[in-house]
Amino acid sequence: MALYTEKVMDHFENPRNVGVIENADGIGEIGNPICGDIMKMYIKVEGDVITDIKFKTFGCGSAIASSSMATELIKGSTLDEALELTNKAVVEALDGLPARKVHCSVLAEEAIKAALIDYYNKSGREMPEKLKNFKPHEE
């Protein structure tokens, strides 16, 4: 059996939405170099819709695949929908991750939440309750 599913390898080899958005409406960064994973997400928001999302990731194959999949799930969704994205949904969309790689999907969920928080702070719109108490996991 291969280490990763075909979906993971597809997103690792052909990651979607890699890059940077100049003048992004929200930027979130999670992780640190000591842990060996950093994810940075950029979002563009028009009205209530995330019209564009890009990422950069320092990390292993599953970290890159999780970021890619998360951006794909979020792109074109509303802010409220993005808020509901869970790491579990990312894992399922990737047809599974090895147990010790599940934290990569958690980072993807948290990077998106961090970008949303940045968006609400910058735009002055009212922060949803769910984001007010958000704290990323310590690795």
Partner: protein, 398 residues
């Protein structure tokens, strides 16, 4: 192109080892402990193999060679025998390196739980331990020093003859895990004052599941597998005759050609090192000269090793990495951090372990693909962006 550059993980069987193995599966199928002619024929071959192994590590007697299931078992038995065998004499202290294989480190940890005290020495930044550090760690109650011959991850060769001489002078047992060194570097257990040594066949083109514990006569081994009188009563279990014959054949073949092989593989290694040097913000880990002929361990700043490894695998190149993501834990290589490498650089490390089967063409292909893959993942890395823009400081010069 398919390039196998992970020979420190395991090698492919040589033609000689394969022929001997397959031949023996039919011809020497008897149990060497059986009294009938089939058994005695197998026994005869087994003892020939024992002689061969003794000859190539220069053991004084063939009866100092104990066949095991591999390097890990040999390591376990060596440490357990030394510790428990000397406990009655009031010796409860062991010395080893922090960069040893886990077969050593985990056994040491178990012995610690049983009341033994272990000193773990860090090597210098080139991956080599200072003999004076070993000398200073010795105590009245030191039972054993166990120092690997050469490191599996970054290839540094330890000062084995010097440590052997020191241990002899102080009357302390000396074990070396020579799994990576055997058949690749000259080994002489008598001249080097090695009391116990572990080796494993599949690291020199022999089969998996077979290895050796050399234990100088006079050392009382303690069984870790009970149940029969095999191997002078010290290692129970029906003897793996085909594996052992194949081990001996592989050892003979590699040792008879050692000089030529070393020169060829060293040239490939240095070609690869010189090629990788051109990549900015990268670094060779481990001593550049006192290293295994085939080992190249490189760190690349701003990228993570597992993504590099998978990226290279996609290009047909098999290698390994010291990143946390390739280990069973979430920590990066204990070897690289043990020699003082910053964690960030340990995460971004790749190991290529070359061998006589590699070619110059393959080395050039590896260099080309590592360049591409490092570029690709640096481009994708927010850490690299921070380094480039000065938001974070580089560890390495350009």
């Amino acid at each position: 192109m398919k390039v196998y550059a992970d020979n420190a993980a395991t090698t492919y069987l040589s033609e000689t080892a394969r022929t001997v193995l397959i031949d023996a599966l039919d011809k020497y199928n008897g149990n060497p402990n059986s009294l009938h002619s089939d058994g005695q024929l197998a026994k005869e071959k087994l003892e020939e193999a024992r002689q061969t192994v003794a000859k190539y590590i220069n053991a004084k007697n063939a009866n100092e060679i104990y066949f095991t299931s591999g390097g890990s078992e040999a390591d376990n038995q060596a440490l357990i025998s030394a510790a428990k065998g000397l406990k009655d004499k009031g010796k409860k202290h062991l010395i080893t390196l922090s960069i040893e294989h886990h077969a050593i480190l985990h056994t040491m940890a178990t012995l610690e739980k049983e009341g033994f005290e272990v000193t773990y020495l860090n090597p210098k930044s080139n991956g080599i331990v200072d003999v004076e550090d070993v000398r200073n760690a010795l105590r009245e109650d030191t039972a054993l020093v166990s120092v690997m011959f050469a490191n599996n991850e970054m290839g540094a060769i330890q000062p084995i003859p010097e440590i052997g001489a020191l241990c002899k002078e102080k009357g302390v047992l000396f074990h070396t895990d020579a799994v990576q060194a055997t058949a690749h570097l000259p080994i002489d257990v008598q001249a080097m004052n090695i009391d116990m040594l572990s080796l494993s066949a599949h690291k020199f083109h022999g089969p998996k599941g077979v290895g050796v514990l050399y234990a100088r006569n006079g050392i009382r081994l303690i069984n870790i597998i009970e149940g029969g009188a095999q191997e002078r009563g010290k290692r129970a279990g029906t003897i793996n005759v085909p594996g052992i014959l194949s081990l001996a054949a592989a050892l003979k073949e590699a040792c008879d050609n050692m000089e030529e092989n070393m020169n060829k593989v060293k040239a490939l290694r240095d070609r690869l090192i010189n090629g990788l040097k051109e990549i900015p913000y990268s670094k060779l880990n481990g001593d550049p000269v006192k290293r295994l002929p085939g080992n190249v361990n490189y760190s690349f700043e701003g990228v993570e090793g597992e993504s590099l490894l998978l990226g290279l695998d996609r290009e047909g190149i098999c290698c390994s990495s010291g990143s946390a993501c390739t280990s069973e834990s979430l920590d990066p290589s204990h070897v690289l951090t043990g020699m003082g490498l910053p964690i960030e650089l340990a995460h971004g490390s790749l190991r290529f372990s070359l061998d006589i089967n590699n070619t110059e063409e393959e080395i050039d292909y590896i260099i080309e693909k590592v360049n591409q893959v490092v570029d690709r993942y640096r481009e994708m890395s927010p850490l690299w962006e921070d380094l480039k823009t000065g938001k974070r400081q580089h560890y390495l010069p350009e």
